[in-house]
């Protein structure tokens, strides 16, 4: 996973997002999420750059024409 610096949301922003979905996590929960996002968000950014813009999303299982 990538390691470049990516801005992370604050605990309060995460809490608001969780509450908007009806979920009420603790501070400890959200700190765990922040740690995870610190790894995943740079990797997501990297993947966005690597994946051609003309590639559509795969479905639940890959269609036969792309079968390996």
């Amino acid at each position: 996973m990538g390691a470049e610096s990516t801005p992370l949301p604050s605990l309060e922003e995460l809490r608001a997002l969780a509450r908007a979905q009806g979920v009420d996590p603790t501070d400890a929960d959200l700190e765990g999420v922040l740690g995870f996002l610190g790894i995943v968000l740079p990797a997501l950014r990297e993947l966005e750059g690597e994946t051609g813009r003309d590639v559509p999303p795969a479905g639940m299982y890959l269609p036969d024409r792309e079968a390996t």
Binding site: M1, P9, L14, L17, A18, Q21, G22, V23, D24, P25, D29, L30, G32, V33, F36, L37, V40, L41, A43, L44, E46, L47, E48, E50, T51, G52, V55, P56, P57, A58, G59, M60, Y61, L62, D64, E66, A67, T68
Partner: protein, 458 residues
């Protein structure tokens, strides 16, 4: 006795279904306190069902089996090893259970799992850890850890697990049994608690590839009423199990031996197993497939939000009842950017396109199933080749590529390190389970790793 041998013995009248089921129940009662592989044992129901089996006998007539406790069995609780579902009773059989029953199998119980099938340790806070029969101080892997332990300990001759990111293959490797993740969509998921719609599949664990073939033939195949199944059935597996590996092209996935952390002793055991396939006539060649490392993040980007969505009602009302590790992953999935799963699915398609030439060039890919042998219960991080790593991160490079591609992959017992089992992963093209399992069977005809027995628990 293997599953196929037991099924033949019952068909020949050498023992009755009731005797076979009674024997399994006695083993469970005697030995499972040491393993905690079962969450629920259906003793009375199983004996009654064994006595009431209809004729003519199906392929699994009277064979006692266990199923992971995320798979519904009508009238029996499905707990997912979680406090959240501790009192949840299934109203109907999952499709795979209905298919097993139609073939004459008797479900003797529900097997321990990592909470909600999401983790690789099977150390449920609500139901206790499952213990590895080779060393009960160690984990049996997961999430289908109870399935791996119960088969390794000879409590049942076969079991069903589920696999999203390695959950059949990992316990198979760590417990020294055979387990196959089928092509995504080959086996119906209806009646199975989901982790991630994109990656989930049911898969069998048994002592031999031949046994897995029989189970997969029974549970696989399209279900027009289930959108999780592919329309194509795939070749039957048991019928061609003896065709060997002569002439097959096997690509050895080089980066999984050298470029990611792996215990060199595990790597050496797997290399030796691949050498055996070469001696059997396969054409073995190393291949650079390091682009597959992208699967590690691709899988997370899709799996986390899908799991969060599946759990949303319980996240709203039962958040505190989850174990800390699963709760953290679910919340991460809930709070990822909306673009994450879409980027993940686009990258997954790109990965499949890039992998296509690999599967055109090779009939099978060979790699280690795990970088280490079973860690001690509670040992996390683990040490891998001198590096300290979170246990879960250590195994992702070995498992996520095949989940992302949706291709069949089997873990075959291939040796021991420090007295603990090691698994060889053989991966094939979509719906080519018959090739994967026949290669595993060929290997098991010239080796006896799958016949080794764990020590007596007493």
């Amino acid at each position: 006795m293997t599953l196929n041998s037991l099924a033949r013995a019952i068909r020949r009248g050498e023992l009755s279904p009731r005797e076979a089921v009674q024997d399994a129940l006695e083993r469970i009662e005697r030995d499972d306190p040491a393993y905690n592989s079962f969450i629920t044992v259906r003793a009375e129901e199983a004996l009654a069902e064994a006595e009431a089996l209809p004729e003519p006998a199906g392929a699994l007539h009277g064979v006692p089996l266990g199923v992971k406790d995320v798979i519904d069995v009508a009238g029996t609780r499905t707990t997912a090893a979680s406090k959240v579902l501790a009192d949840n009773t299934a109203a109907a059989d999952a499709t795979v259970v209905a298919r097993l029953r139609k073939a004459g199998a008797v479900i003797v119980g529900k097997l321990n799992t990592h909470e909600f099938a999401w983790g690789a340790s099977t150390t449920s806070q609500a139901f206790g850890p499952a213990h590895n029969p080779w060393d009960i101080e160690r984990i049996c892997g997961g999430s289908s850890g109870g399935s791996g332990a119960a088969v390794a300990a000879r409590l049942v001759p076969g079991a069903l697990g589920t696999d999203t990111a390695g959950s059949v293959r990992i316990p198979a490797a760590l417990c020294g049994v055979t387990g196959i993740r089928p092509t995504t969509g080959r086996v119906p998921n209806r009646g199975v608690i989901p982790v991630s719609w994109t990656y989930d599949t049911v898969g069998p664990l048994a002592r031999t590839a031949e046994d897995c073939a029989l189970l997969l033939d029974v549970i696989g195949g399209p279900d027009p009423h289930d959108a999780s199944t592919t329309p194509a059935a795939g070749d039957p597996c048991l019928e061609g199990i003896g065709r060997g590996v002569a002439g097959l092209r096997i690509g050895v996935v080089a980066h999984l031996f050298h470029d990611v952390p792996i215990d060199p002793r595990v790597a050496a055991v797997v290399e030796a197993a691949i050498g055996e396939l070469g001696r059997l006539g396969a054409r073995v060649e190393r291949v650079d497939a390091s682009f597959l490392r992208r699967a590690e993040v691709v899988q997370q980007l899709v799996m986390l939000p899908e799991a969060a969505e599946a759990h949303l009602p319980w996240l709203r009302t039962r958040l505190a009842d989850y174990g800390a590790d699963v709760r953290a992953r679910l919340l991460a999935g809930l709070l990822l950017p909306a673009s994450a799963p879409i980027t993940g699915q686009r990258a997954r398609r790109a990965l499949a396109l890039e992998a296509r030439p690999l599967f055109e060039r090779f009939d099978l890919l060979a790699s280690p199933e795990m970088p280490i042998v079973a860690p001690r219960i509670g040992e996390d991080p683990v040490e891998v080749a001198g590096q300290s790593l979170p246990y879960r991160l250590s195994l992702i490079p070995f498992n996520s590529p095949w989940s992302c591609l949706g291709v069949p992959t089997v873990s075959v017992p291939c040796g021991f390190v420090d007295g603990l089992p090691v698994g060889l992963a053989l991966t094939g093209r979509r719906l080519a389970e018959s090739t994967v399992l026949s290669a595993a069977h060929a290997y098991q005809q010239v080796t006896d790793w799958h016949e080794r027995r764990p020590p007596d628990p007493t």
